[in-house]
């Protein structure tokens, strides 16, 4: 057997092993209900901020506790606790991707928030009108 063949075989073997491991790493987008089935396991949940419910961040009490409510794609609303500070322009977010796991009392414990604020990069017309008016 030629050495190059051995090298190729080794490469293929390693690649397969790595890719299998890698796909196992990949997470899925879940809802609160499915994340609740395995409490403690981390998932991504996509949802919208429920603006009718209170957002709480009081650093004097706990600087790593930001609580808010999110409505997931199935329409379920859960309390979410993010162990950090309130992200910039959080209230205006249109969609948020939470990374975390379901904790006790159906409170979602979140370690990472990714927000989608299209308005920030693609200004819509009403917003532009408002901005121009504010500078008039």
């Amino acid at each position: 057997m030629k050495k190059s063949n051995i090298v190729i075989l080794v490469v293929i073997a390693v690649s397969i092993a790595v890719i299998v491991g890698m796909v196992g790493d990949f997470s899925t987008y879940e809802t609160f209900a499915t994340a609740g089935k395995r409490p403690g396991k981390e998932y991504h949940v996509i949802g919208q901020l429920d603006k009718t419910q209170p957002m709480v961040y009081d650093p004097a009490k706990n600087a790593n506790y930001f609580s808010f409510y999110v409505k997931d794609k199935k329409g379920n609303i859960r309390q979410v606790v993010y162990h950090g500070t309130e992200p910039t322009d959080f209230a205006k977010s249109e969609q948020i991707v939470l990374t975390g796991s379901m904790g006790s009392n159906q409170v979602f414990q979140c370690s990472q928030i990714l927000m989608k604020c299209p308005s920030k990069y693609v200004p819509n017309q009403t917003q532009m009108n408002k901005e121009i008016e504010s500078k008039m």
Partner: protein, 846 residues
Amino acid sequence: MKINYIGEHLFPGQLGHFLIILAFIASIVATISYFIATVNKVHENRQSWRKLGRSSFIVQFGATAGILFLLCWILFHHYFEYQYVWEYTSKDLPKEFLFSSIWNGQEGSFLLWSIWDCILGTVLMYTSGRQDKKLAGNGVGWEAPVMTIMSFAQFCLASMLLGIYIFGYKVGSSPFILFREANPTMPVFQNANYLSFITDGRGLNPLLQNYWMVIHPPILFCGFASTIIPFSYAVSGLWTKRYKEWLQPALPWALFSGAVLGTGVVMGGAWAYETLSFGGFWAWDPVEIGAMVPWLLMIGGIHTLMAFKHTGHSLRSTFLFFITSFILVLYATFLTRSGILGDTSVHAFTNLGLSGQLLVFLFVFLIVAFALFIWNYKKIPEVKKEEGMDTREFWMFIGALILFLAGVYALFGASIPVWNKLFHLNMAPPVDQKFHYNKIEIFVGIALALGTAMIQYLKFKKTDAKMFWKKIWKPILVTLIIGTAIAVFGNINYWDHGLGFLIAIYILVYASVFAVVANIMYMFTELKGKMKNAGASIAHFGFGLMLLGIVISTSKQTAISHDMLGLIGNNYFPEGSAEAKHPEENVFLPRNQPMAMGKYTVTYLGDSTAAHDPKTYYKVNYVEKNKEGKVVAHFNMFPDAFVNPQGEEGLIANPDSKHYWNHDVFTYVTSVFDPSKMKDTAQYKSYDLQAGDTIFFADGYMRLNKIITHPVSPNYQPRPGDLAVGAQLEVHNNLGHVFDAMPIYYLRDSTYQNTVADTVRNLALFIRFDKILPEQKKIQLQVKQSGVVNDYIVMKAYVFPFVNLLWLGTIIMVIGFAISIRKRIFQIRKLLKQPSTSNHEEKVPV
């Protein structure tokens, strides 16, 4: 109805549109001319077509430079009638950031890319033209085919700027589009003098208002742009069926590309480290991966090229590396610009609706290049004999293969949104993104470090095993000593991912020390200090340092801010629960209240702003004491933030760091006191008083020194006809501190009564000048002191040890590249100086 708008500056835009079309057409002419100059069978015809190709390329260079100049012109003159200007700048933006706003938008970044291609293409035209004159004889040479591909790329880039509709498809997007053209339905454009309403632009994204953003994008785009040259040479080699001859002229360009692209990627890391507050220089973000992988492949290509040059092996893989490197630059551009990364990346880009166009170009380059490669595969010469395991070329190939696989792994993860789209999947990125990549790439790092350490001790074709061990044992010994010293005293205890990963970290420490030591020793023992031949050793030495810096600073990065309040309070969670996993690294820091962090005592001393600077600076004092209580170090840091920028709510924070030779202390604010959100129950109380009177409040008193006319205060802008008085107050607190305050009362247009309150924030004191009581010769002040703590920051602090090794290593690596480029250029020059007994008579391709 047609409205004649007032005050617009239309000429720069019209000229800009014209130049875009000129650049577009000139690049088509250049492509066609150079194409004919390659394929025509008659030498004289080829020469005249080449001349036409050259002049058209120069014309499109001039036009592109003109576009850039005009874009600068409208930006620097604040012509807000242009969408681009309104969107990305504002009047108060400093000059250097006006400059960086050029590449804030997609149109501008394509323009930047195009201008780099123009510059590089012109240099290439000159150098390859000169080489052809000497070496090609009556043959085709390299200028014509290579420039055909370069010109075609310029055609693609110019079309990205067109901004016209063809059969209903939007082709390109012009930076000269007018605001009213882009938003024709906005009611404000019913006014002929709408410009008098638009007095200022939206301003530059605060994250980009940083000096790294002035320098990093041009370098990175130069790197991106330069990858096309090795690509063009490789494709030209396949096209004209000269499979080997392109390597010599392509080599210096490949080295250049490796140096610049590498610098650009690391600079992006430096920007992230200094500006973005994720606390690090690398986050495995898809955008970062997209820039790094082409670099890995370029480096792989350089190594297989060297292997081929000396032994005849690895020619096919050299083709593949250079072709793929450029294709992946296009792919990375598609990833970042199409908006597909929306859910997975912090880098958000506008989707201009050009992703289809980008994909078309990507596939044109991909299909043509790979079709040529497959077509010619059998004809690409290959050495029949296998390379031995003990040869340099074998291990160079293995190294390049590892680079390739490392790139594939990273890119596969970064492309999750693409897989989702293609196969209708619902995959999300790994939950622990950093570890997902680190756990694999750490072994890549180990393998590469060992390779860079040993490769030069191996010989091409055959290595004498005895000699090898005789030479290598000394570096191994030194490595064991230094590595063990680091292991013993370095105190690396990264247990987050278990023992296995910690062991891998230690192996990487040893391996990268080995890379550093072996290459330094090689320079002295083997090269005898002849620096002009030491390019590879120096670059490898720098790479080893980079790896060492990365592994130490990442594994020893420690948060020194720990939220003790949270632990003491009712926030204790049992280990292993969902609630306990999260590091509590935000610390609440009320003003003037010292807090222990690591070996420091940290105190927040207050904030400050300056005129013409939109940022707020937070003064944070660090004191380090030794066991006897003596102060051994004290310094202030000024992390800053844009507070509520551009109508947003919240902070965009920039960290500050204190640099030591062996570590950085790194601080940033994550939240600050927001007066508007404070629920204040305190009530104003009224006081009537005259000059000399005193008012007492909870923890101090204030004295009305005098009442002055024409008061000067930053909070009050006088207008003609105002009748204004100010109450000059001296405020004392119980600790003996003295503050000034001056509330103002004024009559405007002799009817409107106004008052400008003043505050003493340290004392939470609010003072209003309510009215004048002329009969009693007194004034009425209203005073309130709010009860809540009302000045604080929430911050994080980290210590990054030895992050300087990464920056230093990068610089050294680039120096190594520069030395290699110089050497290769000299080799070509030497060839040019030889009497022209060209040993390869050129064939005219069919």
